[in-house]
Structures are given as C-alpha cells and as structure tokens.
C-alpha cells in the first residue's frame, strides 16, 4: 500500500497535536486533542476512523483531503473546520460537529457533507466563494445564529436537511444561487429561511416550513422562486420586505396566522397556491405603487447600499435599473389561487372589487401616512380565482 498510515491510539491520555502541517497521508483513530492550529496541506490527506473523537481548542484547516465517517468534532468555542478549495474527495459522513464558532466553513471547492449533526455552534455551516459543496440529509440544531449560511455566489446542493431551533435563522441565503434547494424541513426557528439581496434568485422547491415564527423571509431585492412547498402553522408563512419580487407558486399555505405578508414595495406573483385555514391569507402593509414611484429609488439609495461599515456612504453594486419595480399599477398580483373551500363558496357571485375577509389591503385601509403625506395602499388582484385546489395534498 502506497500510503503510510500513522495511527494515533490516544484513547485515554489527551495529547496535543502540535501546530503543524500534514503534507502526506495520515490516519487518526481514537480520541485526538487539537490544542494548536492544524493544517492539512494541498498534498495532505487525513482519514479519521469511525468512532473517533476530535476534541478541538484550535481550528483545523483542510486544503488537501479530509475523509471522516462517524466522527465527533467538539470543543468550547473552537474555530471549527475550514475546508479551503477541497474537491469531492473531501467528505464528512454521519459526523457530529458541536461547540464551534462556525462548525464548518467551506471556502470554494466541492466537499460532500452528508448525514451530519451540526449542533450548538454559533453558525453551523458557512458556504463561501462559489462553493459547490453538497449538504445533504443533515440535521442543524440549536446553532445560536444560523444553521446553514450560504453566500458569495455559492452554487451548492442543499437537500434533505432538517433545520430546527436555531437562534435566528434556519438557513440564510445571501447573494447566492444554490443549484438545488429542496426537500428540507424547517421547524421551530425564529426565521426558517432568509433569502436576502439582489442576485439571490434560487428555486426553493418542495420544502416544509412548520411552526416557525417566519417560514420564509425575502428581503432587499431578492427574487427567488418559491414553488411547491408546504408552509404550515407558522406565525407568518412568507414575509416579503423591501422590493422583493418572488414567484410564489403551487405552495400549500395552511394554518398560518398570516400566510403571506407583503410590505415596502414588494411585487410578487402569487399564483396557483392553496390557502387553507389561515387566520389571514394575504396582508399588505406600507405597500404603495405611488410611494414606490415617488420615493422608492431615493430610499433604496440610502438604505440598501448606501452605508459603509462605519456609517460613511459606500459603493452601489446594484443599479436601480436592476432592482426597481416595473409595471406599477397599484395592485399585487394574486390571481388564480384557491382560497379554501368555504372561501371559494363565498366568492361565487362576488365581483373583482369585493373586499375579502381573508385579505387585508387598500380596501381595508385605504392609505398610510408618511412625512405628512398620504399614500394609497395597493390592492390585491385576486380575480380570477381557482375553483379547485392546485396542490396534490389538498386535491387528495
């Protein structure tokens, strides 16, 4: 065998793996303490045997290969694993990562991270710099800020994961475009999925959002496609904020306090969804085409990209041409949705101007005041409406 395997059998006596670089093949087994930073160089390969425990006080940086199955990585506020430009030959499977500032930081590359438990970190996993990592069938639990943080034009696959009880966000997509974001479950998070900033136009398909304070929040000119998800029992199913124009299609929105909340010049297309037993199906707030025409661009100049880190003005990376609203006609498009059995019955014979009890818009509150001026609140365009449910769950 070409590789020289070095075994660390350190089951009882904790030993410091001194600050060093691994530049060849190396194998760990048993209990390993990392007291100073460790780097696996580009030509290095670290294999950690199943059942091993890595107790870390310092960061572990991998530029070569890391292969770990059934391994526990833990520590108290340790920096975490850093995977820099690793290939798909770096993988962690059925591992547990706890107690880190960021459990795993993935910088570029395409590592495979599957069936992990990522718990009690500040940030569970952070993907950066166009990484193509696969994050699959893992559990993110009780990370104090974010379970999975996806940024910097990352194009990862995120599938089959469970996000529960994070401190702030289950997953956060910031200026990134995961190629697949599907079959994930978000449960008991303050915000299940946050999608923020221009360029975050991912397809969010076939996921479950349950019992979150906010299921999905879309902010700052993001334009995702939210398709065929089940959004149930959240305080707020979907929140759209500050010029966010998603496509919302074929979702089941059930038992939420408010299913969709639209505010601050957001113009979604809400089509072919089923609304079932929500306290309110659709709410508009501070949402006015007239305000957008007159003040939208100016406000964004200040708010979206107008501030440097310490308060000075910073560069504009997104133009108003890119993020401005188009075709403003004072309405939010929610045609061809199924509003529930009783509601559909009640709609029979009503004209398109009718004020529906389950929608709060300009028919309920005609205007809002700002700076001594009054702006008309937009109306929801709900007609024509669906006579039959659209989603398989309700059709059953």
């Amino acid at each position: 065998m070409r590789f020289l395997l070095i075994f660390f059998l350190l089951l009882i006596i904790p030993t410091g793996a001194a600050a060093r670089v691994i530049d060849g093949p190396e194998r760990w087994q048993g209990e390993i303490r990392i007291t100073e930073s460790l780097r696996v160089a580009k030509e290095g390969r670290l294999i950690i045997a199943p059942g091993s425990r890595v107790l870390a006080e310092a960061g572990i940086e991998i530029a070569g290969e890391l292969q770990a199955t059934d391994v526990e990585f833990s520590g108290r506020n340790w920096p975490g694993l850093i995977l820099k430009g690793t290939s798909s030959q770096t993988w962690l499977k059925n591992c547990r990562i706890t107690g880190a500032q960021t459990g795993i930081t993935v910088i570029g590359g395409a590592p495979q991270l599957t069936e992990l438990l990522v718990a009690d970190n500040r940030i569970g996993i952070e993907l950066r710099q166009k990484s193509r990592a696969r994050i699959e069938n893992s559990v993110f639990r009780n990370n104090s800020r974010v379970g999975l943080f996806i940024k910097d034009e990352v194009t990862s696959v995120v599938s089959g994961n469970r996000f529960e009880q994070q401190g702030k966000f289950g997953a956060y997509v910031y200026r990134a475009l995961p190629q697949q974001f599907t079959k994930n479950l978000f449960i008991d998070n303050p915000t299940g999925l946050m999608i923020s900033h221009f360029g975050s136009d991912l397809l969010v398909k076939d996921n479950d959002f349950r019992n979150n304070k906010i299921g999905i929040k879309v902010d700052r000119s993001a334009r995702p496609k939210i398709v065929a998800n089940r959004i149930e029992e959240n305080q707020s199913g979907i929140e759209l904020y500050r010029r966010s124009d998603p496509l919302i299609e074929l979702n089941l929105l059930k038992g939420n306090s408010r299913a969709i909340h639209v505010s601050f010049s957001s113009y979604p297309r809400i089509r072919h969804n089923d609304f079932v037993s929500n306290q309110r199906a659709l709410i508009l707030e501070f949402q006015s085409s007239q305000w957008e025409e007159q003040k939208g661009a100016g406000a964004r100049q200040q708010q979206i990209s107008g501030q440097g880190a310490f308060g000075g003005r910073k560069q504009n990376k997104v133009t108003e041409q890119q993020r401005g609203a188009r075709g403003l006609d004072g309405t939010v498009d929610a045609r061809e949705n199924w509003w529930g059995e009783q509601e559909t019955a009640a709609l029979q014979g009503l004209g398109p101007a009718a004020n529906l009890a389950w929608i709060d818009d300009g028919r309920d509150q005609p205007s809002f005041e700002e700076d001594g001026r009054s702006y008309p609140l937009d109306l929801v365009r709900w007609s024509p409406f669906g006579l039959q449910p659209y989603t398989p769950e309700v059709l059953k």
Binding site: A41, E61, Q101, V146, K295, A299
Partner: protein, 354 residues
C-alpha cells in the same frame, strides 16, 4: 397599530428624511469612439494610482445615453471609466482615467467633461501588437503546475494587488503564453487554494516572481522563458508581510478591549484607524485580531487625529453576521494620539449585523 407597525413607520420616516437632505455627487457622460457608451462602470476612488484601494468607494452605471449620476459625499474623487465587452466575437476591456482627476465635490452635483474610453491592449496600459509574446511553464516540486495565474505588471516596485495590466491562466501542463508588445515587464504568478484570481495569498497558496524580471522584449520577439518554480506561502512569510506597512510595530499605539452588548469580550475583531473622517476605503492602520480577552493594539506611524472603527472582516460591504462597532467616546469616533505614547480607548462595543 402594533409596535411592529410603529417601528416600520419610524424606519420609513428615517429613510425619507435621510434621502431628502442636500445631495452631492458627480454627473457626466462616457463615450467610446465618439458614441455614447451605455452600461459602463464609473468607479470613484479616494486615492490615485498605486495608493488606490482594490475596490472603489462607489460605482455608477451609465444609461443608454452614456450618462451617469452618482451621489457622493463632499470630497475629492479619482474617477475611472470601464466597460468589459464579451461575446459575439468581441472580448475587450474599455477603460480610461479622468484626465482632470481628482474631481472635487462640494455642493450639489459636479459635472465633468465627457470621458472617452479607450480599448486596453491597443491604447491602454499593456498593448498587444500581435507579433510579440513570451511563453513559459510553471512548476511546483518539480512537476508542472496547472491552473495558476500569471500577472503582468508594467512597474516593478510592487508585484502585488490589482495593478497588473494583464493576467493569464496556465493550462493543465502549467504552460502559458503572454501576448505583449515591445517593452519592460515584471511577472508574478500565484495559485490560491480556493482557486480565486485575486486576494491576499494565504499560507499554503503558491506564489513567486519570475526570476528573470524585468522581462525585456523587442518588437516581434517570441521569447521562451526559463522554467519558473513557485513556492508555498508559509505562515512565517505571511506574518512577515503582516508585520510590514500598516501592521508595523511602533512606539505609538491605541489599545483597548472589544466587547459585545452583554459586556463579553469578543475575539477576532480588527480595529481600523482612519485619517479620513468618513472612515471608508482603505484604513491607514489596522490591528491584529483581538485576543480571546478582546484586547487590541493599533500601531500608528505617528500621532495625530484618527477615527476608529472595529469589524470582524476586512473591506467590502457589511455582510450579515459581521461584528461592527466604532469608538464612541466622541460622536465622530475621533481620537487624538500622541507620538511615542500609548492611548487607551477603553471598551469598544460591537454588535452583530443581520
């Protein structure tokens, strides 16, 4: 109305109040071959030439008539126009610095003269004459090194940063060809582990300057360069680099501690000292990251007036999850440092941005 609604109203009022204050900036028009140039970038820098930061302070985009209008605070700006054209058989960079730089913004919008861009490679920094070139091969540990970047500089004083005039990527065998014209060139090559083309080399990345620098080419020459071996950046080398320039230890410093809203020390935070009260662009001095106890020292070249901020990362726009704060004993974040004296700033509060 709920508390939430009130907060939203307040936020809305603040936006509008901010955007209705007296606005200043620069406006003008970009041309190429005497025609208006749309969708071009107009970059505004706070410094000129080699002192320029890698990212501009602000960027505007020209409209269909080649016109732009950029809101900027009062001050002096170095303006550069750029447009990268790709596709349809075209692959070229158009560029020009505004000849009357710096542009002074004082009151209202300053109008500049029209700025004609030129095609880089014909009238720009590095020209290509179609008959002069240099070819070579990169190695690492005696083996061909694939996919590294080769940077061509027209000055030899600092072969780092984005001041290069041309960059090419080596093929799978580490081979590359530089299409140039007669002149003096300085070459550097880097291969970063994360695959990126730009950025500070980290420990483990490969780096090297061409041993035959400067490369002097005659018109029509097709030079075969000697084999060129790159070496890994070591932690020690990186530390040495960090110990130079903005990081040099001196007898004049600012010290203190960084804490969060729960009064807990925060580690890994950089402190930035600016001469410019706007606290933007490249800071004049930077600390090492704060220790586990939140302690920091910013070494200064000399005394004087500084404006101090704290951040968990270097440069770029503020991203979610970052820590940020300022020295707040004074509302303008100003501190007066004395030469050869230590100045204690006390606790600096940082908060997370989401």
């Amino acid at each position: 109305m709920t508390v939430f609604c009130r907060l939203l109203t307040l936020a809305l009022l603040l936006f509008v109040q901010a955007c209705t204050s007296g606005e200043t900036g620069v406006e003008g028009q970009l041309l190429f071959e005497q025609e208006p140039l749309s969708q071009a970038r107009v970059e505004f820098y706070l410094k000129s030439g080699n002192e320029r930061s890698s990212s501009p302070f602000s960027v505007a985009t020209t409209d269909i008539s080649g016109a732009f209008r950029a809101a900027l605070p009062a001050g002096e700006y170095y303006l550069v126009g750029k447009k990268k054209e790709q596709g349809g058989g075209v692959n070229r960079m158009l560029m020009a610095e505004y000849p009357q730089n710096p542009v002074v913004v004082q009151k209202g919008y300053t109008a500049i003269k029209t700025l004609p861009l030129k095609e880089v490679g014909f009238e720009g920094a590095i020209s290509v004459d179609g008959k002069t070139s240099a070819s070579g091969q990169l190695l690492f540990a005696g083996e061909p090194l694939a996919d590294a970047f080769i940077y061509v500089y027209t000055r030899g004083d600092a072969l780092t940063g984005p001041a290069y005039g041309q960059v090419v990527r080596a093929d799978e065998q580490g081979r590359f060809t530089l299409k140039l014209s007669a002149g003096h060139y300085w070459l550097a090559a880097r291969k970063r582990n994360d695959g990126s083309r730009v950025g500070n080399p980290e420990a483990g990345d490969l780096n090297g300057e061409y041993p035959g620098n400067p490369l002097v080419l005659k018109s029509g020459e097709q030079r075969q360069l000697e084999l060129w071996t790159l070496a890994p950046v070591t932690s020690a080398a990186k530390q040495r680099r960090l110990a130079e320039g903005q990081f040099t230890k001196t007898r004049t410093w600012l010290s203190g501690r960084v804490i969060d809203e729960e009064q807990t020390p925060v580690s890994g935070i950089y402190l930035f000292a600016y001469r410019d009260s706007r606290m933007i662009g490249k800071p004049n001095f930077i600390s090492s990251p704060t220790t586990v106890d939140g302690q920091f020292k910013i070494y200064l070249e000399k005394g004087g007036e500084f404006f101090v901020g704290a951040r968990s990362t270097f440069g770029g726009t503020l991203e979610p999850g970052e820590w940020v704060g300022t020295y707040d004993e004074r509302s303008d974040h100003r501190i007066e440092a004395r030469l050869n004296e230590a100045t204690d700033l006390g606790d600096i509060l940082v908060r997370e941005v989401w």
